[in-house]
């Protein structure tokens, strides 16, 4: 029994009914998840990875159906199970963990009750429930399970909830565990913990894992073998390391090139390559290769004949006519970055910025005494876990939140009113923002023309025809065609929507644009194009960015300087090179080591969660979680943010040399 593969998918095709027609979403899917293996499905949104998972689980929506093929679980056909068999299989053999743990749990039941339900279904005696619940919660490394079972979902953090969901999924020790983007909504530090947990559980209970993610780094870390999907087709399949280190499909090559990573260096060294074009629409009739119109090396045969899954050695297959040429895929974007003008002139200076919110009569210290300067045309990256105060700082700067008294913000040497209402038209146009989610940031009832036009009208003014010219030139600047002039946001792709939002921010010729996670809602290939666009606009418009992101690779790529925040305080500020190469503040060290690219022996892990800002820890605010804590001084005296080296500031009692010794020692 144990030698049977956990999951075999053969010739799988899935259709959706759109209107009155059945359209093929996914076809010719073949893969096998061996016993105890971890298998990855990776691809951009719309590639069909979740559709496949839903079909395996029998969770396809009512307008979807498996039209062809077979899914076998431990050798047993799974496609046409009766309702009873299916229920039994879901209880015993197969479990799924979803992206958002908050919606996977019932908000009105205690955690203990919900986990106990699983044991009820498994037929465990009621008297045993409590003990088994505690055991399984311990297994997912919840430190205090007796207390957690008494809690309701809203009282727990996202990371903790995801542990609970995983606990419920592994309670039956299933043959197959399906994980659909299990860490996508989580902070990098929490993500790292959850991934470690999944890896250790797999070793412990020997379950097979089908891991679905858009994140190449996560897949690379977690999976033995990987399948790259595009437009419902398998493009490449094989052992994960080979797939990523020696890709033999132009799509894989393209995706990898879109990702900023330490090898690419910073934007001053090389611009990111992109994948132009769009995913073909659902059910489109394509004779040749589905990737043909986005492929930089396509030839006539690619349009005429669809390639098969060719064996390319090393256990890999690739759906390409020219797999051996894939590594030499021509770039679609010139590698040379645009030349930058550097300036030492200070543009924005924030001094002593504090922000206290009142919550139920108690003060919550969201920001505490922040000093930060941004130079003309510079990019400052702002990083930290959620709850660290990044967005609050941005909103204080923008004037959306009124800071506490004593906060001084200057723009080009002149003091800026702290309330938006008291800022003049020019000042407002000078400090603008690009939001994380363009669906929320653009009014879905307004046309592109109106969205940008209104910003031009208010921030720049001028006569009607001048404003029209400005709208058109803004659209050109964000590389959008005039055919989108009257489009509504719903007719635009995610990348185009974000371009409209960027054009709006540039309407008044800003000096500083706050970018709040501008690429994290976008696909990898689109992200690269937006990062390139922001880089180019920066040079053309000589604008400075305050770039908030949780993706450290993106920050390392685009930022000149980096500021690290924790619990409303700056913990470390320095040039990008300095901060990323270390030695750095223990908090920065922990953030960096959460990155999935790092080898395990270099890791330090952050325990627990960010403390409540209403009740910050004594002494150094990071001491409760600090892996490098040296002793009593950390608990009693809050360190100052001091310039330890020219241009490099840290808020830590440990001298640089000692930090160096600790951190270099750890990685040796």
């Amino acid at each position: 029994m144990t030698t049977l593969p956990a999951l075999e998918v053969e010739n799988l095709a899935i259709e959706y009914k759109i209107g009155t027609e059945w359209k093929t979403a996914v076809r010719d899917i073949n893969f096998t998840v061996e016993h105890g293996e971890s298998y990855g499905l990776v691809g951009e949104s719309g590639c069909g990875k979740t559709t496949i998972a839903m079909a395996i689980m029998h969770y396809l929506s009512r307008n979807g159906r498996v039209s062809e093929g077979s899914i076998r679980l431990k050798g047993r056909e799974f496609v046409d199970l009766s309702r009873r068999e299916l229920r039994r299989a879901r209880i015993d053999d197969i479990s799924m963990v979803y992206q958002d743990p908050a919606t996977a749990l019932n908000p009105s039941l205690r955690i203990g009750t919900q986990v106990a339900d699983v044991f009820e279904l498994l037929g465990v005696a009621a008297s045993e429930h409590h003990r088994r619940v505690i055991d399984v919660l311990k297994k997912v490394q919840i430190a205090d399970p007796a207390r957690v079972v008494e809690r309701y979902p809203h009282q727990l953090s996202g990371g903790m909830l995801q542990r609970v969901v995983i606990a419920m999924a592994i309670a039956s020790e299933p043959a197959l565990l399906v994980l659909d983007e299990p860490t996508t909504g989580l902070d990098a530090t929490v993500e790292a913990e959850v991934l470690d947990l999944v890896a250790s559980l797999r070793d412990e209970i020997g379950t097979s894992v089908l891991f679905i993610s858009h994140n190449l780094a996560v897949i690379r870390k977690m999976c033995d073998r990987t399948c790259v999907l595009y437009a419902g087709r398998m493009m490449a399949e094989g052992p994960t390391e080979e797939i990523f280190t020696e890709p033999r499909h132009p799509y894989t090559v393209g995706l990898l090139r879109c990702l900023p990573n330490p090898d690419v260096g910073s934007r001053d060294e090389m611009s990111l390559d992109t994948i132009p074009g769009f995913l073909p629409p659902l059910g489109a009739e394509i004779r040749g290769c589905v990737y043909v119109d986005r492929c930089a090396m396509s030839q006539d045969i690619c349009i005429e004949v669809e390639p098969g899954l060719n064996d390319v050695g090393g256990g890999r297959v690739s759906r390409c006519h020219f797999p051996d040429e894939a590594p030499n895929l021509p770039r679609t974007v010139a590698a040379d970055p645009v030349e930058r003008k550097r300036s030492d002139q200070t543009l924005v200076e924030i001094k002593g910025a504090s922000k206290t919110f009142m919550q139920d009569g108690h003060p919550v210290y969201a920001l505490s005494n922040i000093d930060l300067a941004i130079k003309v045309g510079e990019t400052v990256g702002l990083v930290g876990e959620s709850g660290s105060g990044k967005s609050t700082l941005a909103k204080v700067l923008l004037g959306i939140h009124t800071p506490d008294d004593g906060t001084v913000i200057t723009l080009s040497g002149e003091e800026l009113a702290s309330e938006l209402e008291r800022r003049g038209q020019e000042e407002i146009g000078a400090v603008q923002m690009v939001f994380q989610n363009p669906d929320s940031a653009l009014n879905r009832r307004h046309s592109v023309h109106r969205i940008i036009g209104r910003a031009v009208q208010l921030l720049r003014g001028g006569r009607r025809n001048e404003r029209e010219d400005r709208i058109k030139s803004l659209l050109r600047e964000v590389r959008m065609g005039m055919q989108h002039y009257n489009s509504k946001p719903r007719h635009l792709s995610g990348g185009l929507k974000q371009r409209v939002a960027i054009a709006r921010a540039f309407a008044g010729s800003p000096a500083l644009v706050v970018c709040d996670e501008p690429t994290s809602a976008l696909d990898v290939s689109v992200q690269a194009a937006i990062i390139n666009l922001l880089s180019e606009l920066q040079v053309e418009e000589n604008v400075a960015y305050l770039f908030i992101s949780h993706d450290l690779n993106v920050v390392r790529y685009i930022a000149d300087r980096v500021a690290v925040m924790y619990l409303g305080r700056l913990m470390e500020v320095g040039t990008s090179d300095r901060v990323f190469s270390g030695p750095n503040h223990p908090y920065t060290e922990a953030l960096l080591s959460a990155s999935p690219e790092l080898a395990d022996d270099k890791r330090i892990r952050l325990e627990g969660e960010i403390p409540e800002p209403s009740n910050p820890p004594s002494g150094c605010v990071f001491q409760t979680r600090c892996p490098r804590k040296i002793g009593e001084i950390c608990e009693t005296v809050e360190p100052e943010l001091v310039e330890a080296e020219p241009g490099w500031f840290k808020r830590c009692h440990i001298p640089v040399e000692e930090l160096r010794a600790m951190q270099m020692g750890a990685s040796a």
Partner: protein, 280 residues
Amino acid sequence: MVATASRSQRWRVLRRSPTFWVGGFLVLMWVVFAVFGDFVTPYEPRGTPQDILNRLQPPSAEHWFGTDDLGRDVLSRVLAGSRQVLTVAVSATILGTVLGTFIGLLIGYYGGLIDDVVSRVLDAFLSIPLVITGMLALAALGPNTIGVILVIGLVFTPIIAKTVRAAVLSERQLDYVTAAQLRKENSLYVMFVEILPNVWSIVIVEFTVRLGYAIFTVLALSFLGFGVEPQTPDWGADIFQHYGQLTGRVWWPVLFPAMAIALLVVGVNLLADATSQAFE
């Protein structure tokens, strides 16, 4: 993600829905009678002095629905009666929707103290029973159509205001509102040009649902003798005038107006169902 059903998608849903077609047909029929009543009624609905000779005739070839206790043709009064109820109900609902939407936008957008105070006042209004309020107000105002419109409109206002407020609160969280602040947009523009189009579908659904209630309320009030000038053909008033004679086997002056009410209310409710399905 926010659902963004486009106008054409909604139309497609509506066009495919039998509920919409049946409801639409019923309502349209009454609208036609209301507008062209004078041309389609076989007799003068208000009656003529000679009618009194023809009192309480049962349905016949001459008078399909019979005649009432003043000898007036019931069919003519039923057909012409739709004008009164539709005018009053539609005006009242429009008044309530416009006022309610305005207040809902205002308190939802500004929030804070204004929201707290106004919401409590609205709650207080909501706790007063509808028909009793209407009777009291109309007893004070005397029977007149404008009074009925005002009363029903004002009674609907808090209900609609609360629905719109809830929708505005969730729109307000979205970044496009922040983006508007970041260009120093004036509040009226944000409320009416940015937010209103996004809550429009909720307003329309609320309007059709309220219209059904309004029709009932108008008729209940006229049955109780409020709001209709004598002689005006009105279903509620006609039923009131004749229901005492049901015991004397005179059923026609009551049954036909009652059926008319049923057909109209069912029609409006079907339309309301279809629109809320298409819009939500």
